[in-house]
Symmetry: C2
Subunit: 473 residues, 2 copies
Amino acid sequence: MQQQRQLEIERRLRDIVGERVFVDVAQRVSYGYDGSFGQYLPDFVTQPLATSEVQQIVKLANVYDLPIYPRGAGTNLSGGSLPVNGGIVLDFSQWNDEVTIYPDDLIIKTRPGVKTADIHALAEQHQLMYPPDPSSSSVCTIGGNLAENAGGPHGVKYGVTKDYVIGLEVVTAQGDIIRTGGNTIKNVTGYDLTKLLIGAEGTLGIITEATLRLIPKPPATQTALIVFEDLGSAGRSISQILTSGVRPSKMEILDHHAINKVVDYAGIDLPRDAAALLLVEVDGDEAILRKELETIKAALAKMGVTQVKIAGSKAEEAELWQVRKAVSPAVVERGFTKISEDATVPLSKIPHMFEKVDEIKQKYDLNLVVFGHAGDGNLHPTISANMRDPEAVKNVERAVEEIFNYAIELGGTLSGEHGIGTMKKPFMTREFDPASLAFQKAIKDALDPDHRLNPGKIFPATGETRLVLSHDD
Amino acid sequence: MQQQRQLEIERRLRDIVGERVFVDVAQRVSYGYDGSFGQYLPDFVTQPLATSEVQQIVKLANVYDLPIYPRGAGTNLSGGSLPVNGGIVLDFSQWNDEVTIYPDDLIIKTRPGVKTADIHALAEQHQLMYPPDPSSSSVCTIGGNLAENAGGPHGVKYGVTKDYVIGLEVVTAQGDIIRTGGNTIKNVTGYDLTKLLIGAEGTLGIITEATLRLIPKPPATQTALIVFEDLGSAGRSISQILTSGVRPSKMEILDHHAINKVVDYAGIDLPRDAAALLLVEVDGDEAILRKELETIKAALAKMGVTQVKIAGSKAEEAELWQVRKAVSPAVVERGFTKISEDATVPLSKIPHMFEKVDEIKQKYDLNLVVFGHAGDGNLHPTISANMRDPEAVKNVERAVEEIFNYAIELGGTLSGEHGIGTMKKPFMTREFDPASLAFQKAIKDALDPDHRLNPGKIFPATGETRLVLSHDD
């Protein structure tokens, strides 16, 4: 009976998308995980290549009461694409070549499977820029960026994915095709469904097309590396820089432990006793960039700076950014698992957060470094742990919980750019009071009453208040 | 019976806000209009000065089944604050002094009645900037800006109100107090209710506090006035400028008729035969601004430019901006009414829109000029008409309808920054198909099932598809 139902669904899926249906366990298993934790098995995997196909699959899912899990490249870190209740995975990664630029309108129209890197390249061919730059850009899809409202180092000056999406085509939970926003940067016609859907993690509708706005590409960039003798100074320097009259295009921070990992891993020459370092990029007209970095240097005259390196060439600039790029691989240890968090705090609270995380590191004897996007308070405490050791797992769970609690206590938030997914939903009730969470749920219930779209994400189950990391990864 | 009910409601309102309740017709009548059309009479006017007062008033409105109309300074142009169904007006204009800046966090927390100009000034005291700059800034309230998602000339580089709001306190239709967003620029924790509520025109919740993010104030500005011999060249120049590597902070356009109005009204020396002019401001380091304007000038070498004036001093820059500032008063005629539209189109379609509006002007023999925010396609066709002449009213109605239809045909939108309110709701079904509009309505119905909050706005009544301008103004 059950098997007959499965065969019937498979046949009807094939009527919609032909050969692009996978039912073998060997095929399905590779769609069961992402960049976070846990392994789940979807019942069906399909690769739609048209809005009408998505629409028909959703209608089919309604007939058979199956959950739907949209998926890009699966790079996300919060479990947004995990098929936790089985059902149908919509793998958009093959719908990757429908992307058109309209240079005179400064917009791009794209389907969800297009790689973010391809959008960057297309814009740059026309002296334009699509600023959002998550570190997974070279492999991730724009659809995943849209679902999670991806960020990146450009956030401090240019904002995040949401700030560049002006229109969407969406398939609703009922299988209707709707349009939100349009082709203009300014638009106040009706409710802003575009910005509601970006970052909703695929729980309110399935994005099948997006209209992205572009901006003029700044002609040049220049970078400074600034080393600090104590964390407090590094923290206070962030506001100092942002009120100096110069507007950095990137401002990244590495703590003492991250610096030492980078020295060990990449052999880059950095002072091992430094408390922290900032990498500050400015962009714009070549003629002014060096002066802007000097202005920043002057603004930090009394801020415990021990060293300032200003890149003298493009090659030197690339070298400085190697420091930041090396952090993530430097943290990886053979056989260990990397847990990347992104608790985010108000700018003035960055030093407090660094100190607390250091305390937590000591308390649980963790291999933990902190780096992140200093200009917007978006920190990435990153732990490397042996997740086959139950005691280590417990320690990670406790540490992550304490980090979140403190971020919220400081007026911060659970997630700056990674999303809630499965990983952070147990903590939602710590950030939101019941009425505020109920307001969000009312929207979900109104638009997707059967909870068909990406169920098991964002909202905690009743009584779910603790992080439990699966051992299956 | 009816009178007894009124007295009972008045008494209960006085229990909440004391003397800040108005019931005399003479007092209520001044709350019945705004910057658009029509005159309505609310049953009660109150001036809340605390979130708990707003909460209690909403709960009272639920008991007596009364609509609620939040109101700032009443400057809006689309009818957003009109109490079309009577009920209770919440006049926030007196809740105007609770505003605090946190310079180290680059944020401001404000109550709805604070003037936008006060927020600008407070930010500037700390070398910071709150960029949204609607032309009513000196008199309007931030609450109105939040409800309507106000824009302004800064939009081309800095975006609109929504781009600077990171958290809200809101009283729901049921009288619950909720919080959305927080204190951080990056935030992907749960649904983005902040951006849903900004621009929702008070129909989904009543904003009682907002957290605004600030950016570093650019140290200097510089402006160029560029005159064109034909409209097509002016239009094409917009994309040309935006792909020149320079990013203007303002880019305003005036058509031939607007230019001549300005010459007549303000006696400013401009060529009367010009087809259009652009005012382009760049901001940043003083040292580079002149060079940036020269870059723009060079980029327009073959674009039908007849004159370029670059301001040589702050005084000359202020003079150039007088051209733009004079347009609005120049259009006003004694005894006539000004109808300001804000149809918005993709950048490449600006010349088409100008040509069409000129056709419509001729067809209906209208006193009509076009100006607006060229850098984001946000045009303000502005008509001056004798609204006591029924034939003139009919012509205005027809002209406005044709302007909207063509904007939508060009892939544009009904409103770039003024909002939908009462004025544009008849046209919503032209921009949105039934499923797209139903998606919006589902959110309204879920959050405010009794349609208590600002009813009669955004969504057209059944069969309402034409603009009917009231003769009561």
